[in-house]
């Protein structure tokens, strides 16, 4: 790959990098920023020829040409944040335009919240290995490279041995200051042995801001720990959200992700989970409900590097308008990772002649004692079920809306947090595309 970065956007960001004032941090971090910058400059923007991005064009970013934002200071105003998706009194952290507060909320014993700056001091040794572990080379990793090159903002969440830290809410929002810029943040989650944390991330702004968020999350799950991670995307059609999450899992640890992409103009979630110790498990569930010209892409890669691990991917998509949905789930089972089990499932309902779905469930298997299966479907509602509902008195469009929502409830039903599940079911219902098939003729 000897591409020469000739893309104006890359050049702009390179200039942003050169002109940024000296950032604080240890020497190794300074060097890391430099090398990451070199990587994004040499790699260029991912395009159609970049396998991992072939279905996700970045036109909107190219048109918008957002600058890499400098760190914004000052406290956030509550009025920038819509109501939380969970009502309970839980510690909440608000990130505005990708910028995290200096003041972090009080937490129960065993749960520790730090700014990245403090984390670099407190968790010095750990970070020296962890922060550079994010893959930053090649066009497909340009945004991770950017995140590292401009690394300044961040949050460290640490849960102590055998502590159940309960639920933590992280709200992301944009206000007008965030338009035309890329908010760049890194979340580091460290769960010690037997620790448990439920993290809910809400992406939701009060106005329709053309903001861009480039979020990198790194989680280290020690033996027997458990991270339940839920994302609720309620952003406006103007927002661009790019996330990249890397999870390193020790023996018997568990990571459960559930994503509800009900908003956002261009949303891309990348996940890589490495099941490094025996008995680790990772589950990725997701529902995307798309309308208009929205675009959602979920890219998941699970690396079974140890024996007796299991992973699953369960995604449901509903696509209306001119939207496009992408699912790419990959499971790699390395030699010796016997007793692995992998399940991948992606089902989609296409409701509009102008919508498109691209799905790619991949299996790469190098061990023989495995149970692996995947299924992907694209189709329509079961007409039998539609008739059943109509025979009970529901109108045709109502029956279809109900069944389409039910199609996504298969994902909310899998949530262990019942309160959240109910909230999200209702959100899913109200996110149903306006352009439901059959509705035009019936109503």
């Amino acid at each position: 790959m000897t591409q020469i970065a000739s893309h104006p956007l890359i050049e702009q960001w390179a200039e942003d990098f050169r002109s940024q004032p000296d950032l604080p941090g240890p020497e190794w971090l300074q060097q890391l920023r430099q090398s990451a910058a070199a990587e994004f400059i040499s790699a260029g923007l991912p395009g159609r020829k970049t396998e991992a991005w072939k279905y996700t064009p970045l036109r909107i970013l190219e048109q918008r040409a957002p600058a890499m934002s400098r760190k914004l200071t000052g406290d956030h105003s509550e009025s920038d944040f819509p109501a939380p998706v969970i009502s309970a009194e839980i510690p909440t952290i608000d990130g505005l335009n990708g910028c995290l507060p200096e003041q972090l909320p009080a937490t129960p014993a065993g749960l520790e919240l730090l700014t990245l700056e403090k984390g670099l001091v407190t968790c010095k040794e750990q970070f020296e290995k962890l922060i550079p572990a994010i893959e930053t080379s090649g066009a497909s990793r340009v945004f991770a490279a950017l995140n590292t090159a401009f690394l300044q903002q961040g949050l460290v969440i640490r849960v102590g041995v055998n502590c159940d830290a309960g639920t933590l809410l992280l709200r992301w929002a944009f206000n007008e200051d965030g338009a035309k810029a890329i908010g760049n943040a890194r979340i580091v989650i460290l769960l010690e042995q037997g620790a448990r944390l439920e993290l809910v991330e809400q992406f939701d702004s009060v106005g329709d801001v053309a903001g861009t968020l480039n979020l990198v999350t790194q989680a280290e799950l020690a033996e027997g720990s458990c991270l339940v991670h839920t994302r609720v995307m309620k952003e406006s059609d103007e927002a661009v959200i790019l996330t990249s999450t890397a999870v390193e899992q020790a023996a018997e640890s568990s990571y459960q992700y559930s994503g509800f992409d009900l908003g956002g103009g261009l949303v891309r979630h990348e996940f890589s989970s490495r099941l490094a110790g025996p008995g680790a498990s990772a589950g990725f569930d997701g529902a995307f409900v798309l309308d208009r010209k929205r675009h959602v892409d979920n890219h998941i890669s699970v690396d079974h590097a140890s024996a007796g691990c299991s992973s699953s991917q369960f995604f449901r998509g509903v696509l209306g308008g001119k939207s496009r949905g992408v699912f790419n789930g990959k499971a790699l089972i390395r030699p010796g990772a016997d007793g692995s089990s992998v399940r991948q499932s992606n089902a989609n309902l296409l409701l509009s002649g102008l919508a498109e779905v691209d799905t790619k469930p991949e299996l790469e298997i190098y061990a023989d004692e495995v149970e692996a299966s995947h299924g992907a479907t694209v189709g329509q509602l079961d007409e039998e079920a539609v008739f059943y509902l109509r025979s009970r008195g529901l109108s045709d469009p109502m029956a279809r809306r109900l069944l389409t929502a039910a199609f996504c409830h298969a994902v909310t039903d899998r949530l262990a947090n019942r309160e959240l599940a109910e909230q999200l079911s209702a959100l899913v219902d109200s996110a149903m595309p306006k352009s439901m098939i059959g509705q035009e003729t019936q109503e």
Binding site: A385, F387, R392, L394
Partner: protein
């Protein structure tokens, strides 16, 4: 209540009903029996308005209205209920939610106020009690993972909640063991009333031991070939359907 005249219907271009006449007064239960392939289920589906069942001639009048002009949901709102032979599983749709949506759609159609969830829950609990059905049914998705018997009882339960004027029970007895059959029949009997008519479609006489019909009709090759009282069912049980083919019709039809 229901007046079917010279009904002809095809499925996938193939004629199934070939001139069926049937008249049911309010409060009556009529049993439709007949060999496999006679068109029993087709009749229920035509009345309920399923796609793919094409009426080529004849009419179906229900409370004086031409039923065939109505959409399936309009028929339901008019009080027509079909208990499906194979109730559809709908994962992700909660039984209670579904039933409330259906009931409120029907109430709205009839200009009745919709029930809020408290009122609805009260109603549902009453009905469950009458039918001796456990309320865990309410928390499950519609028919998902139900046993055959549970599905059929769920159909009867829905009927109890929706209170139709005309119910068609399509082989509600099929696949049930004797205990389940008794439970379902009991449920049906409780829902008998002077302003509710029912069509009980069945292949076997045994259901009619529990649900005593006012009339029994034999459907063969798309037509009613014999009609009689409950005794006819016993005779069919005894002699099968073959005797119908050799001139035995007149002997009982009358």
């Amino acid at each position: 209540m229901l007046e079917i005249k010279n009904l002809h219907a095809t499925v996938g271009g193939k004629p199934i009903l070939k001139g069926l006449d049937l008249s049911i007064a309010a409060g009556e239960i009529h049993a439709i029996m007949g060999p496999n392939g006679a068109g029993k289920s087709t009749l229920g589906n035509v009345i309920a308005g399923r796609d793919g069942y094409e009426v080529t001639a004849g009419e179906v009048l229900y409370q004086g209205k031409n039923l065939l002009e109505l959409e399936p949901e309009e028929r339901a709102c008019e009080g027509v209920f079909l208990a499906f032979q194979y109730p559809v599983e709908i994962p992700g749709v909660n039984n209670t939610y579904f039933l409330r949506a259906a009931l409120n759609a029907q109430r709205k159609y009839r200009d009745q106020p919709e029930l809020d969830s408290m009122q609805f829950l009260k109603l549902v609990r009453e009905k469950l009690e009458i039918l001796h059905i456990s309320d865990d049914l309410l928390h499950r998705a519609v028919n998902e993972g139900f046993s055959g018997g549970e599905k059929k009882r769920n159909e009867i339960f829905q009927m109890a909640v929706l209170e139709p004027s005309l119910a068609i029970l399509d082989e509600t007895d099929s696949g049930l063991d004797i205990d389940a059959l008794r439970l379902v029949a009991e449920g049906v009997n409780r829902l008998r009333s002077a302003d509710r008519s029912m069509i009980v479609v069945t292949h076997y006489q045994r259901l009619l031991d529990y649900i005593i019909p006012d009339a029994v009709h034999v459907l063969s090759d798309g037509k009613i070939v014999a009609s009689g009282d409950a005794q006819l069912a016993l005779k069919l049980e005894d002699q099968g359907y073959s005797w119908l083919e050799d001139g035995g019709i007149e002997a009982v039809a009358g």
